[in-house]
């Protein structure tokens, strides 16, 4: 089943002006349920713009984006919030934890916006923290934790609502290689448990964790391992 369907999407800044920038220049991409996709590109390639659009944080200038069959362009600000809350868990390069809240409270936040109350919320948040091995640091503030621990809290926050899609934007970018590997292991584990993982990275080695690799350059998809595999199949069929 097609979870994500992007059809000929453009994101253009300062359109028709001298300094026009085409961050996305006619991108089409399908992602199925349960895939582990890496979107690879150097900085300025448009990969972050693509992730913002896939994550419903931004809307395309032109083109269509269907998430579970729903046209995202037509949703209001509040509906987009609801979609993000229910369908997508975000993991950012800079962790993006709220500094005035402790680990548990950070993980509870998406559950609060989901409308889950009381002990059930607490249980779900603790459950998510257990999955990333941080059940002993629930009351720590972000400033009292290492980068790896903070990123694990962020992962717990992303998975607390059990969203079908996990979007990770350079999740290892601010971590040393060993903690980075640990974070990738957690993501691989989530993939094995059935989540759809979309990983944005500039690092080919990190991208090798994914089953499918999509390379983007100057706002265009230049390589998609899935399509090539399909071509190979048809080629071998001949």
């Amino acid at each position: 089943m097609k979870l994500i369907e992007v059809k000929n999407v453009y994101k253009i800044y300062n359109e028709d002006m001298e300094n026009e920038v085409r961050a996305l220049d006619g991108v089409s991409l399908d992602i199925d349920m349960g895939e582990f996709v890496a979107i690879i590109g150097s900085s300025g390639s448009g990969k972050s713009t693509l992730m913002n659009i896939l994550g419903c944080l931004d809307v395309p200038t032109y083109g269509e984006y269907f998430l579970k069959g729903t046209e995202i362009n037509e949703l209001s600000d509040s509906e987009l919030s609801t979609v993000r809350n229910r369908e997508i868990g975000f993991i950012f390069q800079g962790f993006n934890l709220i500094s005035s809240l402790n680990a548990l409270e950070n993980v509870e936040l998406p559950l609060i916006y989901r409308g889950i109350h009381g002990s059930r919320r607490h249980e779900m948040a603790v459950e998510a923290l257990k999955k990333v091995g941080l059940e002993k640091r629930m009351t720590h503030m972000p400033s009292q934790m290492s980068g790896g621990q903070q990123q694990r809290v962020a992962i717990a926050r992303a998975i607390a609502t059990n969203p079908p899609i996990i979007m990770a934007d350079e999740p290892t970018g601010n971590l040393d290689s060993r903690t980075g590997e640990h974070v990738m292991e957690i993501l691989s584990g989530l993939y094995r448990d059935g989540s759809t993982i979309i990983l944005i990275t500039h690092d080919n080695e990190i991208a090798n964790n994914a089953k499918r690799r999509v390379r983007i350059l100057d706002g265009k998809i230049v390589e998609d391992s899935k399509k090539e595999a399909g071509k190979d199949e048809s080629a071998s069929g001949v």
């Binding site: 509040s78 609801t82 809350n85 975000f90």
Partner: protein, 397 residues
């Protein structure tokens, strides 16, 4: 997201920056306290003025009448007032003199000697505790008798019996026939004026102060009620205009009731003006909240972005910021009320020597007003925060 959760979040973020929160509250605290203090003090002062006039006696008409080179009008006025007995309870001259009052070796300084009629007591709202009033006969017969005030009695006799004793007024012996009840509380400044008195029949003023005797021009007429007061003023004015040639003299009839009314009007104005000025302080406090909330929004742009990314709706962000500003101003308002009460009590005691309590309604009103201020001045920052695009907010650092 439910309201309780929104409150929890707001408290959390308020508590995370205590110094700033307190400084922000300070504007509201000062504003609310200022409103309460100023309005309460003016109201308390008004109340004390009204009480003062009531002790002096209501329905009291003061008549001044003087004609050059003529005998005092006192007897004629006295007779005229008797004819108004459906309106008037009593009439008395109200002239006075400062003179030495002695009992044996004891000298009562600062004592005022009043020249009164047999109706002096009722006209000036005194009460007898012992003895009798000056009688009509005393006035007619130039009897050297007197009624003394409570402080005068204490100064001259201490706790000994005063009735029947002879005191010396300016060297003239007078017999004490009555003692007044204390009118003002001991130590009150009014008491030194109105309780340290000796009242003698006005006709005997010829022994004490010949000038006062021939120039008796101050009178007090006591009317039955406020309607009679108005009527009596009209009658007395009419009577005096026939008796006094304004080319050779003057007269004036007025009631303290009118004075109370105009003074009430003045203090109401004063209270409105001062309250308004204090209200401006409150407004400035509200702008202070808005300013800080705007700074907070800018500072927390990234946090707002994160919250929106993980599913906060516009409504959640708006209510979080509105509750934050509302809570800051409400807590500020409560502290302001407390401060206002305390300072009102202290200042009331120091400035007017009174226990002044701010009105409950005003306090509740001030608390409500401070919440309203917080919410009104929170709307713009909250709307600004909620309108941020998550992608732009996340990009900010």
């Amino acid at each position: 997201m439910n309201l309780l959760q929104a409150f929890k979040m707001s408290f959390k973020s308020i508590a995370s920056n205590k110094v700033r929160t307190i400084l922000t509250m300070l504007g509201i605290i000062i504003g609310v306290a200022a409103v309460i203090i100023l309005v309460s003090l003016v109201q308390g002062y008004t109340k004390s003025m009204v009480e003062y006039y009531q002790k002096q006696g209501v329905n009291k008409i003061t008549v001044s009448a003087y004609q050059w080179n003529e005998n005092s009008i006192s007897d004629e006025l006295y007779d005229y007032c008797l004819s108004l007995d459906n309106l008037v309870l009593g009439v008395t001259p109200n002239s006075q003199t400062y003179t030495t009052v002695k009992y044996q070796a004891k000298v009562n300084s600062d004592c005022q000697v009043y020249f009164g009629s047999d109706q002096y007591t009722i006209c000036n709202n005194y009460k007898l505790v012992e003895g009798r009033d000056i009688s009509y006969l005393d006035v007619q017969k130039y009897n050297k008798v007197c009624v003394i005030g409570a402080v005068a009695k204490e100064n001259l006799f201490n706790y000994a019996d005063a009735l029947g004793k002879q005191i010396s007024i300016n060297g003239v012996p007078y017999t004490v026939v009555g003692v007044y009840e204390q009118k003002y509380s001991a130590g009150d400044w009014s008491s030194t004026y109105y309780d340290n008195i000796v009242v003698v029949p006005y006709t005997t003023s010829r022994y004490l102060d010949t000038y006062a005797y021939s120039n008796m021009s101050e009178f007090v007429v006591k009317a039955k009620d406020s309607a009679s007061t108005t009527e009596a003023i009209t009658r007395l004015t009419g009577f005096l205009s026939t008796k006094i040639d304004t080319n050779r003299g003057w007269f004036d009839v007025y009631s303290a009731d009118q004075y109370i009314e105009s003074s009430n009007e003045q203090t109401r104005m004063l209270s409105m003006i001062l309250g308004g000025i204090a209200g401006i302080a409150l407004l400035v406090g509200g702008i202070g909240i808005m300013n800080i909330m705007l700074v907070t929004v800018t500072e927390r742009t990234r946090e707002i972005g994160i919250r929106k990314a993980i599913g906060a709706r516009r409504r959640s962000i708006i209510s979080q910021f509105l509750i934050e500003s509302g809570v800051i101003s409400f807590v500020g308002g409560l502290i302001g009320i407390g401060t206002g009460y305390l300072l009102t009590l202290v200042l009331g005691k120091v400035l007017f020597d009174m226990i002044i309590m701010p009105s409950f309604v005003m306090s509740v009103g001030a608390a409500m007003f401070s919440i309203v201020i917080g919410i009104i001045f929170g709307i713009y920052p909250a709307a600004k925060a909620s309108g941020l695009q998550p992608v732009d907010a996340l990009r900010s650092e």
